[in-house]
Symmetry: C2
Subunit: 420 residues, 2 copies
């Protein structure tokens, strides 16, 4: 459908960065190609809810075609990118080649084991829908096996869950697992008591949620300990084997080990010849373009940028959204004027931090908005409201609301299904 | 927890039959064991909605432990039964042995290929949650591939779906697939038009929904043809190969072949030494007990019975529920009086047919309630109401209602997610 005079914009990745770009960019005179290996956009901040049976997969995943329905200048391709040539201005997928005038690279990050890739086979990551459904299956199955188990040592091990990483992902996951045992599965079993589920949160630094100002990390630790979670800070994981984790010179035995400790950029960045940081992220110019390639931008978790305020832009969804908006303006203007500018002539990106919040469990959270610090119920209410507003565009907003409301009232969870 | 004086009731299968028995039977002085290889009860009548992205899996599947929560005399086991000894009064699972005083056999049916088991690898069944998610993935992926395909023959093939079997399962499936193409995916693609999706419904007998009185089958055919479905009656399937189906001397090429033509009892019935019909179902006594074993009952799709009215009890969920209620009374009374009766002394089962209804698509259905025959919008409204009422006990009733309501208004579907 694209005529040869139309500028071609190739968007790689339908995550927060890529999708937001597509939504923002509505120039009629361009041909936009969006390529993702998945057919859906994933609302990653709620992935832990799928993992702990609180939400179903479709409630946090929305088909890209559906979101971008009726946008005739935009074509969505289900394809996996295998090579990008910045020189040749094309990307090669499994199915076809995509040529471009402008490139928007938003392929995001994947779980990082900091060089210990063999740990992957003994742990569950928490980045994809498959990861989340895998954890759900594994956790529910472990409890079923514990109910059958007659050896009390084995039973204890099946009921022990380790979460590695004291960032928001790990904290939310550990809190939700503890609630699952303490409240949700109450009176569901006859031979075990799910209240005895043991959840251990392992963090290498000296506190959890360390990116928050004091006293919020300490408050978060107090709140999560109230749920029965054991918090172990100050020691890095030494080794992980099947059902075993070494930390601080001790070995912990656990039926489930969840890895939420770190991410790195997708491996494709290594092919680009662009400068990378230690996590494989592209060190972009202040305008988010890739050095030497003003027509190619990297945004979201795949980009490394110290912004105009002198601070590194964090790998969070608001940053990805803001970057997408920023470059959509740049590109729209240049296409309109027919003139590609130099990176230094373009506006530099500045991250506006609207605040951070992390949930721990029902009525338990911390939030930091500018100088305002909250914890407990008020922070949790704020978290709830923000996440509901954030789900705008997701068709099942009301359903998510109802599900949460239902869970809040009676501690049930709607998605406790083990798939075969 | 069970003391030795308590009677042990073993319930195999948590489908409509087995679960209803557990719900009905609330004698405090018994020990009930419910064994299922899945952790959830499945609302099978809506499985086609999961397959066609209308509902998410957890919306029609509910954890057995959750449903039976707090029933302290009842223990649920996630286990797969491998052997049943009617003589020894025990069943052997993969994990343990279950001894019983009374047996309730409700293991149901599985897809039958009428002796052509090799067709299974080229078709999708529609009996389990996995089947439904498999169809959803396959259908969505076929359309994604068609969007990429440059060879128009291959493209057509990817957009052709065959449904075998003109019973309610096949009709509902074919109708929902046609709607998916015609309405739901409208304006989602750029290189294909999902309106051109070809859905072919193949039925061996001379009409679809042949168990309804005339003129309902003809009305159903007219309604489904309005949706664009091609109906081919009067010829049995001759052969199925990968992407190819022979019927009436012709070969049809299709990217997807769904098999909804028949069911048979699970293979375990063959070990019992009990009389079986051609579909492997146990020919039970009028009270639903297995001949020669008054302590063992078979109910639901696994049982074959000509009831007191002289008609074979159909393999539908209302029949399973009624049988469960029937035998729960028998067993409760005998445990109360401490005396096991002979089958001929017990009340015989009579199936009460409250009516049948099959849905075809939005505003399209047929219904037969006693002498009342309905089709089109009134039948569809009746179908909708009955299925919503039927979902009682399912915690997500409201959510299902909302989803349907939403779909009804704007032809969207909430679960268009391809899993990896």
């Amino acid at each position: 459908m694209g005529s040869s005079t139309k500028k071609k914009i190739l968007v790689l990745g339908g995550g927060f960065a890529g999708l937001e770009f597509c939504r923002r960019f509505k120039d009629e005179d361009t041909s936009i190609m969006l390529v993702d290996k998945k057919n859906h956009h994933l609302f990653q901040p709620l992935l832990y809810q799928v993992a702990t049976s609180g939400l179903s997969a479709p409630q946090i995943a929305q088909p890209l075609r559906g979101i971008l329905r009726g946008r005739d200048q935009l074509t969505t391709y289900l394809d996996e990118i295998q090579e990008i040539s910045l020189e040749g201005k094309f990307a090669k997928g499994k199915n076809r080649i995509y040529e471009y005038d402008y490139l928007v690279l938003g392929l995001g990050a994947k779980t990082s084991y900091f060089g210990n890739d063999h740990w992957a086979e003994h742990t569950h990551g928490l980045k994809t829908l498959n990861d989340a459904l895998g954890i759900r299956n594994h956790v529910l199955r472990s409890l079923e096996m514990a109910e059958m188990e007659t050896d009390s040592e084995k039973q204890k091990r099946l009921m022990t869950f380790i979460v590695v990483g004291g960032g928001p992902t790990g904290v939310e996951m550990a809190g939700a697992l503890a609630e699952l045992g303490r409240h949700v599965l109450n009176r569901n079993f006859r031979h075990i008591d799910p209240k005895n589920v043991r959840v251990i949160l392992v963090e290498g630094s000296d506190k959890i949620l360390g990116n928050y100002s004091d006293p919020l990390p300490a408050s978060a630790q107090k709140q999560i300990e109230k749920l029965g979670v054991e918090v172990r800070c100050g020691n890095m994981v030494e080794d992980i084997r099947a059902g075993e984790l070494d930390v601080g010179g001790e070995t912990i035995y656990a039926g489930t080990i969840i890895w939420g400790a770190g991410v790195e950029a997708v491996p494709l960045t290594k092919q680009l010849g662009a400068p990378l940081d230690r996590a494989g992220r592209i060190k972009v110019c202040p305008d988010c373009s890739i050095p030497g390639h003003p027509e190619a931008f990297a945004i979201g978790d795949i980009a490394h940028l110290v912004d105009t305020k002198g601070k590194p832009v964090p790998g969070v969804s608001p940053a990805a959204l803001q970057m997408a908006k920023h470059i959509s303006k740049i590109i729209a203007k240049e296409i309109e004027t027919g003139q590609m500018r130099k990176p230094e002539e373009r506006k530099a990106f500045t991250y506006f931090n609207k605040g951070n919040m992390a949930t721990i469990g029902r009525s338990k959270a911390i939030a930091e908005i500018g100088k305002l610090k909250m914890s407990g119920m008020p922070a949790w209410m704020a978290w709830l409201v923000v996440h509901l507003i954030f789900l705008v565009g997701f068709r099942n907003r009301i359903v998510v609301l109802l599900d949460w409301f239902y869970s809040y009232i009676n501690y049930r969870r709607s998605a406790r299904i083990i798939f075969e």
